[in-house]
Subunit: 353 residues, 2 copies
């Protein structure tokens, strides 16, 4: 086994592996290390074309039907927070991943890993929340699994949801479709989920008013695709925030991205918390926002459509795709300078989702 | 929320809830408590028809295509054991669940929850194992997710796999289809996975020769369905063993089941270990065996077909479906007495898969 493995890496993996010999928290942070772990370690092992698209979900064709298929585990801490809980987050996170493939979510699964001693009352509360979230997102929770681990070998409850949805004819949404000239639209103010979690976790009094933006985006996406079926890329900027999402797309499509700081809405309470905690809101997680890459002639109309939807009332074009510098995200700041917006390099907020 | 919840329980839940106010290890053991947790607590909350089938996976129809969809999390301890590891187990466990719906597995997802400090070398080994298992089962691993939890909040690695597959026309396999007169076929000797795990975990020297039977059953199922498309029920007797699987089916279909002890093959090393440890092999987990309920006129031919497959060489009819006593499994023992084979009531082997 070891030999086979070494041989295949030597032959197939053009990206140097990282130097870590064990997993660090930052490997799960959605930034550079997560990226390296997936691109340079796991992808060369699992090598296949669909997985290599590194989309929020896979699109597989079965008898002419294009099916989106997505999975996510949720380890958020704390389990309950202003604006949501691990249950609703797990449902919306997966319906959103399906929506980001341009799919209409149909069915989801729920798999629980519960630590011995976990309160039945909390389990009920989480299950109720998942049920209501599924109703809201228009999906059926059709299959599940329950495992229990011994005390001290888990952390209350972890939930995996996977989902399937159908991609309509003519829709082709993938990071690689980002094209020079595309307008980049953001659906609203950023950083609310990350700051809400951090405030709940640390008991930060001053942030009592921040609520997670956790929501199902599939209705918003449906309206956008009705308006412009030729949308190129959709992405929900969760772990690692807007900065990481844009960097991943720039990398996958081999394009440059220029964004304008003044167009990106940062709520005052998020800006305040970030200043105090030394965080950049561009890297803070969102759970109810999306970024769309649309052909320039569609942009104005898509923004209008989005603004008419409750989850997109403050949508705006925040930037555009450029030819150079390839694989790089630049930001024109409010004081008219231009800076590189790199991928998150360390761990900012562990267990944010 | 609490009020809504209490109201809905009062109205919708005919089965009394269990008395536990927190999760016990036995809630994950695949026996009575798991059953109660799912049937009397979670199902009334998620109430929907597909979920209520309580099959190994759900079958959903999309544009005339019948798609099987299944999920399972794997928390097996230890991660590596004779005959397999958490990676291959996670792949085969899910392709088997799809096969038990009569589906041809097509694609699976892999979601990792990794504890900080986990060895990269072990991660590679597990990923390689999953890759090879997927090749063997003929499925593509198309989408994934990686989360990291802080040290002491997990246990090395937990893996969730979900899968999709297509159910051919004319195939209708569900627990509820078990019918009086059906012959019950078991594909081989029982207890190997459970005893291999227990031996590896406890370092039991005398069991060094027992290897897990973990394997992909989809090829065997395909051959069986080619032979007899009218197979009524398929089930892989994993957690809780043959006894729990049969009890679940008897309960869901409202039928009686009579099995014959002398027809059930228990390898000597499993029998020896069970005697020493005070276990009943009927309750010990299998990961490469299946139970089929087939119409009587198909039985002989299906057994012959199974015996020609490498994973079914010692297949045999072990019993039949009876009208009474409904919802009960009886066993005719080798000494010609008849005893009730109840559902596992406590926890036998935690974290077996």
């Amino acid at each position: 086994m070891e030999n086979e493995h070494d041989a295949s890496v030597g032959l197939e993996c053009p990206i140097p592996r990282d130097d870590y010999d064990s997993i660090h928290l930052a490997h799960g942070g959605g930034g550079k290390l997560t990226n390296q772990l997936i691109r340079s370690r796991l992808l060369p092992i699992f090598k296949n074309e669909t997985l290599s698209e590194l989309h929020d979900g896979a699109v597989v064709s079965i008898d002419g039907l294009r099916l989106a298929f997505s999975t996510d585990s949720y380890v958020v801490h704390p389990l309950f927070f202003p604006g949501g809980d691990i249950g609703s987050l797990a449902v919306f996170g997966t319906t959103n991943d399906l929506a980001m493939c341009g799919a209409t979510p149909l069915a989801i699964s729920a798999a629980f890993i519960i630590e011995e001693g976990f309160s039945m009352r909390d389990l009920d509360r989480i299950a109720e929340s998942m049920h209501h979230a599924a109703l809201r997102a228009g999906v059926q929770l059709v299959t599940g699994d329950t495992k229990v681990v011994d005390r001290g070998k888990g952390d209350g409850i972890f939930i995996n949801t996977s989902g399937i949805g159908v991609v309509k004819k003519g829709i082709d949404i993938r990071p690689k479709r980002a094209a020079v000239g595309d307008r980049i639209i953001l659906s609203g103010p950023i950083g609310l989920h990350g700051i809400a979690i951090m405030a709940a976790r640390e008991g930060l009094e001053f942030q009592a008013s921040v609520r997670s933006d956790s929501a199902d985006l599939s209705g918003l996406v449906e309206a956008m695709l009705d308006d412009c079926p030729d949308i190129h890329v959709l992405r929900d900027p969760t772990r690692g925030g807007v900065a990481s999402a844009l960097n991943e797309i720039a990398q996958d499509a081999g394009v440059g991205i220029l964004i304008h700081e003044e167009e990106i809405s940062v709520p005052d309470e998020v800006a305040g918390a970030c200043e105090l905690l030394g965080l950049d809101p561009l890297y803070v997680a969102n759970e109810g926002k999306l970024i769309a890459f649309v052909p320039p002639d569609c942009a104005e109309s898509v923004v209008s459509t989005m603004r008419r939807h409750p989850l997109g009332t403050s949508s705006a074009v925040i930037g555009e795709v450029t030819a150079t510098p390839a694989r790089t995200v630049l930001m024109r700041t409010q004081i008219r300078t231009t800076r590189v917006v790199d991928m998150l390099s360390g761990e900012q907020l562990p267990r944010i989702c």
